[in-house]
């Protein structure tokens, strides 16, 4: 008896031991199928027969990728956040059974847990939140992506039907008649199967049906029309959706057809009726006056505005550059003083941002940073000192300051002293200044900059130069956006870089004819700084040209673009308070003369106007991505209109150019 008990006991413990030793992955390795591929999850847990999958599971990662979903989680985090491709944010809180799919709170069977530094989520909840339907098929479970949403809207001008799916939708015209249009969506199913009566805007009803197998479904959306309307437009706003616009009258399926409609994929399953041959009229290419050009070609055969040839004004060549030999820190009774040792002379401008930034930087122009100039170790209240050559002739020394402290910049014959007072300030303001340090004549002359007044929140984070006195008030700098290795936006082979250069040349001709001196930051399709440089190098090089020349104003010319054809119009952007009047005058003239939608002036944190000392703005003339705007942009006569309007805006702002300074006898 005792022996039997002992045997049973040992067998029981052996069984328990064996169960404990079995790898977890081997306990449950069900097969799944998605988009024709079979796979198994390897990071799995089970709780009361509910499957949990680790978010680091390779198969789950591939599934997320296929669905365009993005997971945000790292060990120690309290939430697993998933941005689905739809897009919706799904948030799982570790230890909580309730999770959110967008605004919808849902309860899972098992709360998310963390095992070995990995979060495990209930797979049923995951599948639901990702728009996947689980369908058992023998030993395999099929994950069928769904059309998750069908929206019918009356937009006044017509009805719009929008379908959204768990995966990007591709529509194929399956059947067409004056009263009924049927579109097939291969690879997706739908739990929305029903007939929806509409009776508005020429749309009688919308019907959803499904055919095919669980692994290879096709969903059909049928639009019942009343005979007085037609499907005027089929397109996608973001690739995840398909929208149908129903408009009055009869007509062919027309504009904005996605490529899948023009070149439909073979249907995965047979449509309910044989597919008729439907004439699909794609919008013809815009009536462009441009020849087909490679992105690198300039716009050819276009007359420029006639004007007497004027020699291009170029910045004075640099004589010699000063050298920054050392940066030394010295403790003083009041705090810390940095001495920037200089051989030669350099002009400089400095900026100090108020709390919470507390950042300070000084740009030494016409100077190079010698390898010996190593930033010193820091002492409170300075948290960090950085020095770098931001362009071939400018060195920037930047300080991070702990808290608000008074900073004094004092030029000397041997360089520049930057004294940071150790006593914290209760309230500070953004300040700025300019000066010349070292011995000799600096190679770059800066315009005087006045410190900004405090209190105005609009001033404190922009390049804080409130007053500007141009050293050459007759000079206007035009910046044709992009160029060279940076093509800007490109559409149908037409590059923004080419168009902006053309408009800039036209503007130059007009301004010169009106008596202005003009510098263009580039006169060819080239990079201003260097091919394949950084955006900062490129943009700063353009600002440097205007800053060093002491120009009256700077206008940067661009063409806008977006991921879809919707946005259109003309906008003038500005950044600093002193930019706004210039931007407004230019935009007013553009609105009056060029015939695009007037999108007004917009304040933004743009590099070019921010880093220009003078009034500056950036004109986004029109949208390359919008067909109507594109037709205008590629029309030389319209580009000439733009140039005239900008020139008129400059005249409104600045008046007539001042008379040239006569050389002394």
């Amino acid at each position: 008896m005792n022996r039997s008990i002992a045997r049973i006991s040992s067998a029981f413990f052996a069984l328990c031991f064996a169960l404990l030793c079995v790898p977890r992955a081997a306990v449950a390795a069900p097969l799944w199928q998605f988009a024709g591929r079979t796979f198994a999850f390897t990071h799995v847990e089970r709780s009361d027969s509910t499957l949990l999958v680790g978010i680091d599971d390779p198969a789950l990662h591939r599934l997320f990728h296929a669905l365009g979903a993005i997971v945000t989680w790292k060990p120690g985090a309290r939430y697993v956040l998933i941005a689905t491709g739809e897009p919706t944010i799904v948030s799982f809180a570790i230890g909580h059974r309730t999770y959110d799919i967008g605004p919808l709170a849902v309860r899972s069977k098992v709360a998310p847990v963390v095992r070995g530094g990995e979060a495990y989520l209930e797979f049923d909840a995951l599948a639901r939140s990702l728009g996947l339907r689980k369908i058992a098929d023998g030993a395999t479970t099929i994950l069928q992506p769904q059309i998750t949403n069908l929206d019918v809207r009356d937009e006044g001008s017509g009805m719009r039907v929008i379908a959204r799916g768990a995966i990007p939708l591709e529509a194929r015209l399956a059947r067409a008649s004056p009263r009924q249009m049927t579109y097939a969506f291969a690879g997706v199913g739908s739990g929305l199967l029903h007939l929806r009566s509409v009776d508005a805007g020429g749309l009688v009803a919308v019907e959803i049906s499904q055919a095919g197998t669980a692994a290879n479904p096709t969903t059909y959306i049928t639009l019942d029309l009343d005979g007085s309307s037609h499907v005027a437009q089929v397109g996608s706003l973001d690739g995840r959706d398909i929208g149908f616009v129903i408009a009055p009258g009869s007509g062919e399926v027309a504009a904005n057809l996605p490529p899948t409609l023009a070149h439909p994929r073979p249907a995965a399953t047979a449509p309910p009726t044989p597919t008729p041959q439907v004439a699909v009229a794609l919008r013809p290419p815009p009536n462009s006056e441009l020849p087909t050009v490679s992105p690198w070609n300039r716009v050819a055969n276009e007359p420029l505005a006639t004007s007497p040839p004027v020699a291009e004004v170029t910045p004075a060549p640099l004589v010699s550059l000063a050298q920054i030999d050392a940066i030394q820190a010295q403790l003083t009774p009041d705090g810390v003083t940095l001495h920037v040792a200089l051989t030669g002379a350099a002009s400089f401008d400095w900026h100090h941002l108020r709390a919470p930034d507390n950042r300070f930087w000084i740009d030494l122009h016409g100077a190079t940073l010698e390898p010996t100039a190593i930033p010193p170790s820091t002492s409170a209240p300075i948290a960090d000192v950085r020095a770098r050559q931001i362009d071939p002739q400018t060195v920037r020394i930047a300080l991070s300051i702990n808290g608000a402290h008074d900073i004094a910049v004092t030029p000397a014959a041997t360089g520049v002293d930057i004294a940071v007072n150790g006593a914290p300030l209760l309230a500070d303001i953004s300040t700025a200044g300019t000066g010349v340090a070292g011995t000799g004549t600096p190679s770059v002359t800066l315009a005087a900059a006045a410190p900004v007044a405090g209190g105005d929140p609009n001033l404190w984070s922009v390049n804080p130069v409130a007053a500007y006195v141009p050293t050459n008030p007759r000079l206007i700098v035009i910046d044709p956006g992009h160029g060279g290795s940076d093509r800007g936006a490109v559409r149908h082979g037409v590059a923004e870089a080419v168009l902006t250069l053309d408009m800039a040349k036209r503007l130059r001709a007009i301004l010169e004819a009106r008596g202005w001196q003009v510098i263009m930051t580039r006169t060819k399709d080239v990079d201003v700084y260097a091919p394949y440089d950084t955006a900062e190098q490129e943009l700063q090089a353009r600002d440097n040209i205007a800053n060093r020349a002491g120009a009256r104003l700077l206008v940067s010319i661009h063409a806008n673009a977006y991921i879809n054809a919707g946005p259109n119009g003309t906008t003038t952007y500005y950044a600093k308070p002193i930019d706004e009047p210039l931007a407004r005058d230019i935009q007013n003239e553009l609105a009056a003369q060029v015939g695009t939608k007037n999108d007004g002036i917009v304040k933004s944190h743009l590099y070019i106007p921010l880093h220009a000392f003078m009034p500056a703005c950036l004109v986004e003339t029109a949208f390359l991505s919008n067909p109507d705007d594109f037709a205008l942009l590629t029309n030389p006569a319209w580009r000439q209109k733009v140039a005239v309007a900008i020139a008129d805006g400059i005249t409104d702002y600045a008046g007539a150019p001042p008379p040239p300074i006569q050389p002394q006898q």
């Binding site: 956040l81 919470p356 800007g488 007004g600 590099y607």
Partner: protein, 186 residues
């Protein structure tokens, strides 16, 4: 006369019940309840206001989202981080699909957020650099992000980094991103 008055006073004093103790108790209870209520709500507000930019490229509109209640045991700093991360993710993903809004490039992820004083650093993934090429998108995207993050209590500035690194501007871009962005920049 004075005796009568005195005795009358005594009689009134004897008949008045003693309210002092219950009033003090009720007052303490009210103060305690008020303190508990305000503390609870100040410590764990789970509704966040997120902004998106309309298709005109400039108009920002708010919408409210809800984060699960504060997990038990998380510190105030952790909760602030969780809220900021959720806000950044919502702002980058944008409003529901049927709302027309200017959205960040597809695939842009929020790697993490970090709060230092009144500045929140939002670390975005490289996909944010896949801009279509105009000022329109950049301005609208970052405007909505900055508005969303500065709607968080105590946050007034947003430092953008891309895969952990600060960058002066996006490649081929237009916006200056080296310094923290504020609402007043837009």
């Amino acid at each position: 006369m004075s005796d009568i008055r005195r005795s009358g006073h005594r009689s009134v004093a004897r008949s008045r019940p003693n309210y002092a103790i219950p009033i003090i108790v009720l007052l303490l209870l009210a103060i305690g309840a008020g303190w508990w209520f305000t503390r609870r709500h100040a410590a764990s507000p789970n509704t966040l206001t997120i902004y998106y930019t309309e298709m005109d490229g400039t108009t920002v509109k708010p919408w409210d989202v809800t984060l699960r209640p504060r997990p038990a045991g998380s510190t105030r700093a952790q909760w602030a981080h969780d809220r900021a991360l959720y806000a950044a993710l919502q702002a980058v993903v944008g409003p529901p699909a049927d709302v027309r809004a200017v959205r960040f490039p597809q695939g842009t992820r929020v790697n993490d957020v970090a709060i230092h004083g009144s500045t929140v650093t939002v670390d975005l993934s490289k996909q944010v650099e896949s801009q279509p090429g105009g000022t329109f998108g950049e301005n609208a995207e970052f405007k909505s992000l900055v508005y969303s993050m500065t709607a968080l209590p105590g946050i007034s500035a947003v430092q953008i980094t891309v895969d952990g690194a600060r960058l002066p501007t996006l490649p081929g871009g237009h916006l200056e991103l080296d310094e923290p962005l504020h609402r007043s920049d837009f």
